[in-house]
Symmetry: C2
Subunit: 479 residues, 2 copies
């Protein structure tokens, strides 16, 4: 397989040296590691299709990978498969300002899309915290959100069409750049499918008008419950903030230690609220938001004076995960979703769980969506701590499901949560997922062992997904 593809992809397109391959051993979920036997970096749809066809001919699994910033192990390599990276598929192919859309290759970063139309009064709305590095291909795979998805929705609401190489190596265009799609919405099926239904090679995104006015504030509260009350009041008043984020006391300490952006270290929780839209509307709603915060018991409200102030506030928020290194050597980040109305209760139960188990839990989350990111802190060098912390994290997710929520908001299922899927879905549901997967990937070669539970990954009880057919056969001759 290597010998077939090397002449086509060239020396930059086939990475074989162990040091090169080790770079790709894990994504943002560093705990799950596997050095890929071979890394392919196609630089065109044709090359990518050739890679996928070669995989099919040889019965070799393939794992698509964007920037590798995902947090659920979705891009963890397969021990007997190839990794197909999109690092050389980075071109912006078309910018259509009149119709408000752009066509890009999957390796273009999230931030580069908006940067390409800067000065033209347009931008791309979804903005995951990792937007400087993460790729649109990865965003499509994970249906990424971001701090502004409360108002503007997830990636699926902003991807009009995409070019997919099916697991059988066929090149298909799905979706349409016009209103409603014809036939089944396969575009929507691919978005969020975490690379298990094929490899995306082109993406048509929707561009929005830059809002006329943006206003941002930080409100300090004594307790997360007070901050939660403010969230309830704001949403109940009919205001849909562009961003509505909460950090608890521990998260504030980490962010301040790391970025020094000026959050109040004494606060029990802070709320970051951003409004955008026409100036008159924003001004009026901004007053209403402040009133909601004060009534819920805000001890202080700091208003961003300008774009630089605003950028500093978001820098603090977006650095939250990285900043946890200041508090503990390691952490597990969770990604549960709860009904917004259950916010206060769930936070208190997480606090109880944390003190019972003796592990600190910092909470950073998209409050408006009810999308929690609790970070369980631990020290991996102390025996048993990683296992214990992981159990605390798993119990937090169970808590979310019990409260009527779900096991993942925006980080995806990947390898991390595939074994938890039976907690949310019955056997029949999983069988339907499995059959849909087989419809697009009959041989089970596209990112196997991800999203759906498999015996290889989850041990006991044979899951509905069978391992790829040649798992037992000799690897060397196939790669």
């Amino acid at each position: 397989m290597r010998d077939e593809l090397a002449p086509l992809l060239g020396p930059d397109g086939v990475l074989e040296h162990p040091a090169q391959r080790r770079t790709y051993a894990a994504d943002g979920l560093a705990a799950l590691r596997e050095v890929p036997p071979l890394v392919l970096l196609p630089s065109s749809t044709e090359e990518a299709a050739a890679c996928v066809r070669a995989c099919r001919r040889h019965g070799v699994p393939f794992v698509p990978r964007g920037a590798g910033s995902g947090l659920s192990g979705g891009a963890m390599p397969h021990p007997d498969g190839v990794l197909i990276g999109v690092a050389r598929l980075r071109r912006i192919l078309d910018v259509d300002l009149a119709n408000g859309r752009m066509t890009v290759e999957p390796g273009v970063t999230n931030r580069e899309i908006s940067a390409a139309v800067e000065g033209h009064d347009r931008y791309y709305a979804p903005d995951p915290s990792s937007q400087i590095v993460c790729t649109i291909g990865g965003n499509v795979a994970e249906n990424s959100g971001g701090v502004h998805c409360l108002k503007y929705g997830f990636t699926t609401n902003h991807v009009l069409a995409l070019e997919l190489i099916t697991a059988e190596g066929e090149v298909e265009w799905l979706g349409a750049p016009t209103a409603d799609s014809v036939g089944y919405d396969l575009r929507g099926l691919i978005v969020g499918s975490e690379g298990t239904l094929g490899l995306v090679t082109k993406v048509v995104v929707r561009l929005l008008r830059t809002p006329e006015s943006v206003r941002t504030l930080v409100a300090d509260f004594t307790t997360p419950r007070d901050a939660g009350d403010a969230v309830t009041a704001i949403t109940a008043s009919g205001i849909v903030p562009a961003g509505l984020e909460m950090l608890d006391h521990l998260a504030i300490q980490a962010c301040e230690e790391d970025t020094g952006v000026g959050l109040n270290r004494d606060a029990g929780a802070v709320l970051l609220v951003e409004l955008d839209g026409p100036e008159a509307e924003v001004d009026r709603e901004f007053e209403a938001v402040q009133a909601c915060c004060r009534e819920a018991g805000a001890t202080a409200i700091t208003i961003a004076r300008d774009a630089a102030d605003r950028a500093r506030i978001w820098k603090g928020r977006k650095a939250a995960f990285a900043a946890m290194g200041r508090l503990a050597p390691d952490y597990f980040v969770q990604d549960g979703v709860i009904p917004r109305t259950a916010l206060g209760d769930v936070l208190e139960r997480i606090a109880d769980l944390s003190s019972e188990a003796g592990y600190r839990v910092a909470n950073v989350f998209h409050a408006g969506d009810g999308n929690l990111h609790p970070l369980v802190l631990y020290d991996g060098t102390r025996p048993g701590e990683a296992e214990e912390a992981e159990k605390v994290a798993a119990r937090i997710v169970e808590l979310c499901v019990d409260a009527g929520g779900s096991i993942t908001g925006e980080h995806g299922v990947g390898a991390d949560k595939a074994c938890s899927m039976p907690a949310m879905f019955g056997e029949e549901d999983l069988a339907v997922f499995e059959r849909v997967r087989r419809a697009l990937d009959p041989d089970g070669l596209a990112n196997p062992d991800k999203v759906l539970p498999t015996p290889r990954l989850c041990g006991e009880s044979p899951g509905p997904y069978r391992p790829h057919p040649l798992e037992e056969a000799g690897l060397a001759e196939r790669l």
Copy 2:
């Protein structure tokens, strides 16, 4: 099958008499007729599941039907199958104002959803013209839009979750009432699948806040091209109207004849523009919209003074199809989509086509979406006219595809356009659709011969969809 189900469904749930069955022979596309051998009207999920399971056991196809107001023959009965109507599944099961959602059975009409929360400052956004009669089940099947989908999106953007009876008779919940869905977005796959992937028995819809302010105007123009220029100017200015509709000269005559709402019969085209949102924003943008219309050559602008005025204007627009009876005994309505920027050109080519063929074509459409509804007028009592008019309609759709658009905006593929699918999709694409269909309906019993081309429907060239296995076997013993 009848004998099995009669005790469970009761006398109101099984319709056998020819006069009763004839009522269900066609949907809104009256040209396609087939009297169903048996009509089933289950009144609960359990009864509906029993119907589908009986179909499966006996190898009998089933066709789901809402109000039958669809325009693409999606609910046309199968000659050897049963029709499953949702007329007795009409309960509102849960209203959750705090989280902005409602759970309803599929027979609840679109209008009843908003009516149920009237006075609570909430409403359901998608509003097809048929909203007084059409059901949410039908809306889900067709991914219906409406005059306000330009700003608020289609049904798929407002359905959070749904209960589906798979073609194998299993009851599944798809989607989640929280942020992002976990696993594949099968909810999104079902929305718009036109009853070919199972029978929907419960729908969780999203409720929006009633906008603070609504303003509506009618602008008269000399030509459709001028009106098209106004549409381009409005959207280019960054304004997203809640509704942006165009009627051409012939459509104006029909609407006025029928409703007398006060449209200018001398105008070459009128534009209906509605803005909604916060009062300050709406006021400012309303000024800008008027300026765009004047610059594009509007000869008059009439502003709705109050809710009654507004209701009258929309009544005129929504009556457009029915009003065509004033101009001609029969019409074919088309449902093409074009890039918004191609609007002026496509309208001129339709006019050329109309005069060449000698058939009048009235145009009513969602201008902001580029979703055209040309109505080809004819007299079915004159030999050959229906066939000729249908050809003109088909050529209009080809025109849309040539202009970079698609064969259906919001009316669906149904039986009407299944044979036109190869005009938009290659064999490989259709094969993927087909495999996805088989994943959810292995026996091919859910609304066969719809959406994808089949030999039975399309004649020559064997389509990828095989007829249901027992098509040849004796009907009587199965029903």
